[in-house]
């Protein structure tokens, strides 16, 4: 049992690559919001890339190793400290029993990933160790970490010294462009509404979390219609439908919300576009105030971007094999 939580940070949870396949029953995929960084952290310490690790948004936790182990921190830029001294991120770092791990301020990005050799050994639920906090299952007792929690870890891994090459580390900007495929309900926006969605700059609001990323900006105009039976009265309402992960809804025409990995699976808001899978990590690493533009791409472009992203992950695997 080598990892003890001294301070939990804010909403730190255990995540892995998620539990795809249950969304149609209302259970979201979950898993790391930035899957690339999570894979990198695991590979660095010699784990399977789908091992469970700690995801901490905005504020780093304070941990103690109760046995000798190896950790790796990836994701957002936030200074790693071991017993108060600076240590490298994107690198496997050996810890001795009793070492205390803490973090400086977040300087770029939004979430860090902390992998421990052997992985965090919590029970699998529906094939995954990811925490789904709203459903109170998965991860460590179905909730965010608290001070005093002792995280069991598996065996294996532990290869200190390896690091992710510079060109395979993501860079984080306060001004990003997110590629989207338009639809299914973009036809419900007026021409002016559609133009505003794609041409204006949006700002990420502080309510963004694992379920959804909400943006402030202009009000979007919808085409007026007599609402169909079963739909709410606002023009942004539709008859309930399934929500794709990454889909963007705009309740009331105000504040678009990108559904992320802990999103609800359906509801009655028109989805005007869906973020392409290759850009979901980018969205996940934006923090409040980040300026965001949406750029429409074709489905073919989205699939090409997905293949490029897969190639990048292959390059990461090769560099850390």
């Amino acid at each position: 049992m080598p990892i003890e939580i001294i301070e939990p940070g804010l909403g730190s949870t255990i995540q892995d690559l998620g539990r795809p396949g249950y969304y149609r029953y209302g259970i979201p995929p979950g898993g790391a919001v930035d899957l690339y960084s999570a894979r990198a952290a695991n590979l660095l310490v010699g784990n399977d890339e789908g091992a469970a690790l700690i995801e901490s948004p905005y504020l780093g936790p304070k941990l103690r190793a109760t046995e000798d182990t190896v950790i790796a921190v990836t994701g957002a830029q936030m200074e790693l400290q071991v017993n108060g001294a600076g240590a490298p991120s994107w690198e496997a770092v050996p810890l001795s029993a009793g070492d205390v791990v803490s973090f400086g301020f977040l300087t770029a990005g939004a979430r860090i990933y902390i992998a421990v050799a052997g992985g965090i050994d919590v029970p699998e639920v529906l094939g995954s160790r990811s925490t789904y906090a709203i459903g109170s299952f998965g991860g460590f007792e179905g909730r965010a970490l608290l001070a005093g929690d002792v995280l069991p870890t598996g065996s294996g891994g532990a290869r200190p010294g390896r690091s992710v090459p510079e060109d395979l580390r993501p860079s984080f900007s306060r001004s990003i462009e997110v590629r989207v495929v338009m639809g299914l309900y973009d036809y419900r926006l007026s021409e002016a509404g559609l133009r505003a969605f794609l041409d204006e700059e949006w700002t990420l609001s502080p309510v963004a979390d694992r379920m959804g990323f909400r943006y402030s900006g202009p009000t979007l105009e919808w085409i007026e219609r007599e609402q169909p039976f079963g739909a709410g009265s606002d023009p942004s309402n539709i008859v309930d439908a399934g929500y794709p992960v990454g889909s963007i809804q705009v309740p009331g025409g105000l504040e678009p919300i990108i559904l992320h990995r802990d999103a609800v699976s359906g509801g009655g808001y028109a989805m005007v576009a869906t973020v392409i899978s290759a850009d979901m990590d980018l969205v996940g690493q934006s923090s409040p105030g980040a300026r965001t533009r949406f750029r429409a791409v074709s489905l073919d472009d989205a699939l090409a971007a997905r293949r490029e992203r897969d190639d990048l992950v292959d390059a990461l695997r090769a560099a850390l094999s």
Binding site: L10, Y58, L59, F105, L106, T107, P206, V207, D209, S287
Partner: protein, 81 residues
Amino acid sequence: MAEHQVQSPLPGIFYRRPAPDQPAFVEEGDAVTADQTIGLVEVMKQFSEVKAGASGTLVSFTAENEGLLGPGDVIATIETD
């Protein structure tokens, strides 16, 4: 006298009051103790208390009430005892 700068550990919206209809946690010029709450930061629909971190006199707020903060931004300056 030494100065202590209170920094925000989190990004989010800064509030000087516990609730809209209540007075501010502390006013400029007030004496504060290290573990005293001087404001709240809201992010991910959660409110985190910001502690003074040092005892003394809170001489000024740099952060605006209901303004957006980044991690490490200075919220207030305390002249320590």
